[in-house]
């Protein structure tokens, strides 16, 4: 299967700032790709280059088997849902959705049918005659989606589409976006800085930082087996434990850390500095048993109640550790905790 | 094609301005170097301006009248705009403002003429004063510098009320609340907060007044008559009676230079592009 979009070694600078540094990316047909990263990571620049709003300094963009690098937005098979939706305030909802079809000289009858279809798809079948300013934020978002989908793009680009919505609506729209994407079967590329949004939506998650792709793959893999230190701390939280490779034994890597000598089942370098990443939810309360890795005993410095769990910072160990305890656990700052984890939950990072 | 779009859109306006504004000014500069008769081109017209007292007297008159008008108009308009913005209830403010500038929309020739009706020897003011027995003889009010100044001030009070009102309304009320909260009384709030924050608006309005007043021919011609000449009257005199375009051009360029110097002098306070 050939990719719908292929980004080949694209670089772009704004003045002295490198916005994108030799980025390559393939987007499969009918997939939901999420570009995830902090502000300034280059994710929006990459989306603009895909949409044709920016021509990259170097590299090429192929869409549907065509070199689109220098094609203007109007002439490439992409459509963009803008961050503030950019609905045309002087047109009705129907006029907005029909706009792209008008530009393509679709006959009136067919146009009206397709507008109705698109509005039905996003759950606003009766909104055609209303004005954008009469709609709620969530409804505007749906109109913007319908307006872009009605022209049947090969790729739909979404620039922080849920950023303007409140949290509850955001989670709800998230589910709808995913459902709509599966129904229409168009490839979606979605930019966000919200890692929960990314994990909930993505088939393919691309983590970006400083103009580079740090990691990409299915969100489960990226979360559980992050490739870099940045990914381990940006996609959810991790405690990073510095270490030195001491050698290999029985297909396991032996690493000296401030917490003592640990053995990890992994392929690893034969020597040098490495980092171990440990998710807070994998830190267990109590002394190690059997296969467990003892992490030592420390003092609780901070407890933050998060609803479904308590986020605890434990100090007095060789490395301050983040852990999650059940919400009903009576832990308080100053308590002493003995912690351990399972070796399979420790991720060995060399980058 | 898309590379041409900026030039296709900006080009016509730029071309228009170059052809019908810059080119005439260039021609005017060239004309100002020509003598009316005789010799070749030279600075004769400029020399004439600086050596003939009746010529540069017109510039002095213009500057005096314009300065007086600007100061008077600001002093009259500021308290008026303040009353409109602060003391008139919110829902009536728009109406109050529209009323305050309604005569602005009359023809400006007619506006000057109306003051002639008021100030003439048989006019309303003299009629009232003589009728009331306060005067035995009518005063000479029309055809004086005072009449010119009154006519100008009338126009510019309206203009300045508009701009000062706008800058007073733009002021966020929280500044004043903060000042009051920190212990400033109404007077100190005004002096330290309101006045400095509205000063840019005042400066822009005052500069506009200066530019428009110094270049106006109609008001001094109708109300001031020919008792003393202001620059625009002197310029028109050269074109009208004598057909002396070279001297008129030189005088015009001197007037432009004065405005430019005034602009550079207060450019610091004028950010015209923000208006």
């Amino acid at each position: 299967m050939t990719a719908t979009v292929e980004v080949r070694a694209v670089s772009h600078r704004f003045g002295d700032t490198v916005a994108l540094d030799s980025v390559s990316l393939a987007i499969e047909p009918a997939s939901y790709t999420v570009l995830l990263g902090p502000s300034g990571s280059g994710k929006t620049t990459l989306l603009s280059i895909l949409g044709g709003f920016l021509v990259p300094d170097e590299g090429a963009v192929w869409i549907d088997g065509r070199d689109c690098t220098t094609l203007p937005p109007a002439r490439r098979p992409t459509a963009t849902v803008f961050q503030d939706y950019a609905l045309f305030p002087h047109m009705s909802v129907g006029g907005n959705v029909a706009f792209g079809l008008r530009m393509r000289r679709v006959a009136r009858g067919q146009r009206e049918r397709r507008v109705q279809e698109a509005l039905g798809l996003v759950g606003l079948p009766d909104a055609a005659s209303r004005r954008p300013h009469e709609l709620s934020g969530g409804q505007r978002q749906r109109v913007a989606l319908a307006r872009s989908l009605v022209v049947e793009p090969a790729v739909l680009l979404l620039d922080e589409p849920l950023g303007a919505l409140d949290l509850k609506l955001r989670r709800q729209m998230q589910d709808e976006l995913k459902a709509i994407q599966q129904r229409v079967g168009t490839a979606f590329v979605h930019v966000t800085h919200d890692q929960e949004e990314a994990m909930a939506l993505a088939d393919h998650c691309v983590v970006m930082n400083h103009g580079r792709i740090e990691d990409q793959g299915p969100p489960e893999r990226v979360y559980l087996r992050p490739a870099t230190r940045f990914t381990a701390t940006f996609m959810g939280e991790s405690t990073l434990i510095p270490g030195t490779v001491a050698g290999h034994r029985d297909g396991r890597v032996v690493i000296d850390t401030p917490l003592g000598r640990l053995e990890i089942a992994a392929d690893g370098p034969s020597g040098g500095e490495v980092t171990l990443a440990l998710r807070p939810e994998h830190v267990r309360n109590g002394p190690a048993d059997g296969d467990g890795v003892p992490l030592g005993t420390g003092v609780v410095a901070e407890v933050v109640f998060q609803g479904s769990f308590k986020r605890v910072t434990v100090q007095g160990l060789a490395v301050p550790l983040l852990a999650r305890l059940p919400a009903e656990h009576p832990v308080r700052p100053g308590d002493r905790l003995t912690l351990h984890c399972e070796p399979r939950h420790m991720v060995l990072l060399t980058l | 094609m898309s590379r041409l779009v900026p030039w296709l859109t900006v080009g016509p306006a730029v071309l228009w301005t170059l052809l019908f504004f810059i080119l005439p000014l260039v021609l005017m500069a060239w004309t100002s170097l020509q003598p009316l008769q005789g010799d070749g081109p030279g600075l004769g017209n400029y020399v004439a301006f600086f050596t003939n007292p009746s010529y540069w007297r017109a510039l002095v008159n213009s500057l005096e009248v314009t300065a007086l008008v600007t100061v008077l108009a600001v002093l009259l308009a500021y308290p008026f705009a303040w009353v409109l913005a602060e003391q008139v209830p919110e829902r009536w403010q728009r109406l109050a403002l529209v009323l305050a500038i309604l005569p602005f929309w009359t023809s400006y020739l007619v506006r000057s003429y109306s003051w002639l009706l008021v100030l003439a020897e048989q006019g309303v003011v003299n009629g009232a004063l003589v009728g009331a027995g306060l005067l035995s003889e009518p005063l000479r009010l029309a055809n004086t510098r005072a009449a010119t100044v009154i006519g100008f001030v009338h126009f510019f009070v309206m203009l300045l009320t508009l701009t000062i009102f706008a800058s007073l309304k733009q002021l966020s009320p929280s500044y004043r609340k903060a000042a009051a909260d920190l212990g400033a009384g109404p007077l100190r709030t005004f002096v330290y907060i309101v006045l400095p924050l509205t000063l840019p608006g005042i400066m822009v309005g005052a500069f506009l007044t200066f530019v428009l007043a110094i270049g106006d021919y109609v008001t001094p011609q109708i109300l001031g008559g020919n008792t003393e000449l202001l620059m625009p009257q002197l310029i028109m005199l050269q074109i009208g009676r004598r057909g002396d375009f070279p001297l008129a051009s030189a005088l015009s360029l001197i007037l432009m230079l004065v405005v430019t110097v005034a602009y550079l002098g207060c450019a610091r306070w004028l950010r015209l592009e923000r208006v």
Partner: protein, 261 residues
Amino acid sequence: MAHRLPRVVGALYAALIYGFIFLPVVVLVLFSLQATTLPVPPFTGPSLRWYDAVLSDRRLTAALGNSLLVALLSSALAVVLGFLAAWGLARFRPPGSGLWRALLTLPLMVSYLIIGMGLLILLNQLGAPRSRVSAGIGHVVINLPLCFAILYSQMGEQQARAEQAARDLGAAEWQVLLLITAPMLWPALFASFFLSVTFSWDEFIIAFLLTRFDTTLPVEIWNLLRAGLNPRTNAVGALVFLVSAVLVASIELVVLRRRRS
């Protein structure tokens, strides 16, 4: 009592300024309504004699037509040129855009008299006749900077993004301009057209210098003014004021109603 004093002083002052502002207009209208040949006190009772005289004056009605024609056409041109330039400069920032912006707003700083005289010299050089066309050209020169400045200040981010969206959906540049930018800027376009019409309608010195036979209304009023105090001038002035007042009032009403809805 003490804190009511400023309000009383304020009200008195406002009344005084309103009086100053309206005094000449009231006098003008009042004495346009009396039949005597001099518009001076004492007021001798209402008569529409001079309105009748003015409205049946061929020269004045012809000048009125010329004024309207020049005002509407020159304003339309000024708005179109100003709109295109503002859009091009705001959106594409072509090289030297600061310079072009300065050039386009420069005429605001120059007195109408000088602009008119410059154009007169240009006409003389070209051997072209003075006419309604040359006056119209002059009015575009004075109104273009205004239209440009107003419209340039309105080219905001919101329009820019809507334009991007339109391009993304396949619109060509002219379609973006016609279907997105112009409708979104409709209030500003209307305002700059209205202001231009008012300025052109009222403009005297350029029309005086650049027209010869097809003069505009202000030039005809000027000719009337030469006769000194003249009830015809009162009548013309009162009529112009009435029309402007009705126009301004109706625009106010439209704006207010729009804002309410």
